[in-house]
Symmetry: C2
Subunit: 247 residues, 2 copies
DNA sequence: TCAACGTTTTTTCTCGAGATTTTTGGCTTT
DNA sequence: AAAGCCAAAAATCTCGAGAAAAAACGTTGA
């Protein structure tokens, strides 16, 4: 089967080799937005960015167009591009929708998953556990590794869900959630509670306890929302609106 | 608030004026794919299309990039663009996901909807009824009108749902469904049954009967799936694969 | 007859310059 | 002093040509 260029995450941990300059700029730009290097609401000037990413103006425009449909960038006709704004209401919407979709996906995945899926899940959980140990041990630079492995763990959980569309939508929502998390949590999150939650979800999934797994996963996702919403920066919506308007 | 260029449908029936050439080409191309003028799996050659749509090559590439994230076009690195392939399994996936999201959206919409929403719904249902009468009366050229008003009716139904993300995903899925419908149903569908279903859904929504409305809506969407899957062209998956591979 | 190789042709991808539109700044007027 | 208007400047949007890659084709050899 043909491989989509601008598709989902890849499940394995190997480095992705961009096949084209547009694709490379798209991924680099997406990462910079998710990790907060481009602030929400900030203007994205083509003339300025084409030098930073070392591509032509047309190429960068095409990469920006791809980001528009991921809702990470908004286009204002004849007035250029901006980083998508953020708000607590938006994060709540993202969270609610994600809980609904991820519960359904997990339900299907546990129902369909074979032994190979179990194996992948054991592996993903193990790698995540190791990353969480490093995170607790104050090793710098392990945040990115944790983010990667956390993403892979969640992807593997729903990996046996045979609905491409649900997985596609969840990938979009996951990126949005990650952006909020990385913007708000500048220092590392509390890893101990999160690790326990991951372990409980993992065990319930392996035990094929659908209802319990969904219940735990929903709680896990909502807890992340409440963690972010407790950050002072987000607690007051007025500050957000200021950022969202980009002025 | 700023208006997004590449956003959702507009609820009213007025003509949309594209603010930029990219946006115009994007909408025109999207319509041509949905209405089947570009066959599934067909190659989209930039050199050939830029003349047809009367824009530059770079502009057309940008429009194609926008369509990639709608999953109406797939990009194969260094090998150009193709119209997204179709398959019965994909339609089933679309339908299942759509039923889940649209039920939730309708549930919220009926819960939140005020009198203004009721008014919009009455209006949309009335216009749809008129279009269905014309369709039964064998007036040519009324298929596009029916499609427009059918879309507006479904949009209005879930219009009071306050989740932007659910509405966004539903807009994508609706376009996909419309493509399958228009590819398979070259002659008009049976309007009588469909009209009765619309009327029942409409009445249940106005009566604020959430469970009944969701039940009817789900049946309505699934019935459309079965209608398409009964078409000989779709009944045999082998023919589909041939089209999907585009060779 | 079939397979493999090298050349030709087609198509895609990329870049920089020109035309439009928006924004900014200063000036005049009330 | 505040509001409105005109001009300069910045940024965006668009286009066509050149470079790179992939596909098609014919040829050669076993």
């Amino acid at each position: 089967m043909d491989q989509l260029i601008t598709g989902e995450f890849q499940a394995n941990g190997e480095a992705y080799e961009p096949k084209t300059l547009v694709d490379g700029a798209y991924r680099q730009l997406r990462r910079d937005i998710i990790e907060g290097r481009h602030a929400p609401g900030a203007k994205l000037r083509v003339e300025h960015l084409k030098d930073a990413y070392e591509v032509g103006a047309g190429t960068l425009r095409e990469a920006l167009a791809l980001l528009v449909s991921d809702s990470l960038v908004v286009a204002q006709g004849q007035r250029g591009f901006r980083v998508a704004p953020i708000s607590l209401a938006d994060l709540e919407d993202i969270t609610r929708t994600r809980v609904m979709l991820e519960s359904e996906a997990l339900r299907q995945s546990i129902g369909n998953g074979d032994e190979a899926w179990e194996g992948n899940l054991v592996s993903a959980f193990h790698l995540l556990t190791r990353a969480e140990e490093k995170l607790a041990g104050d090793l710098d630079g392990s945040v990115n590794e944790w983010e990667d492995r956390n993403r892979v763990f969640h992807e593997t959980l729903i990996g046996a869900c045979n609905s491409r569309w649900i997985r596609h939508f969840l990938a979009i929502l996951y990126r949005q959630s990650e952006r909020y998390r990385r913007i708000s949590v500048l220092n590392r999150p509390v890893p101990q509670d999160v690790h326990e939650e991951h372990e409980q979800i993992f065990k319930a999934a392996i035990a094929r306890d659908v209802d319990e797994a969904c219940r735990l996963l929903s709680g896990h996702i909502w807890r992340a929302f409440h963690t972010v919403s407790a950050v002072p920066e987000f607690a007051q919506e007025s500050a957000i609106r200021q950022v969202a308007n980009g002025r």
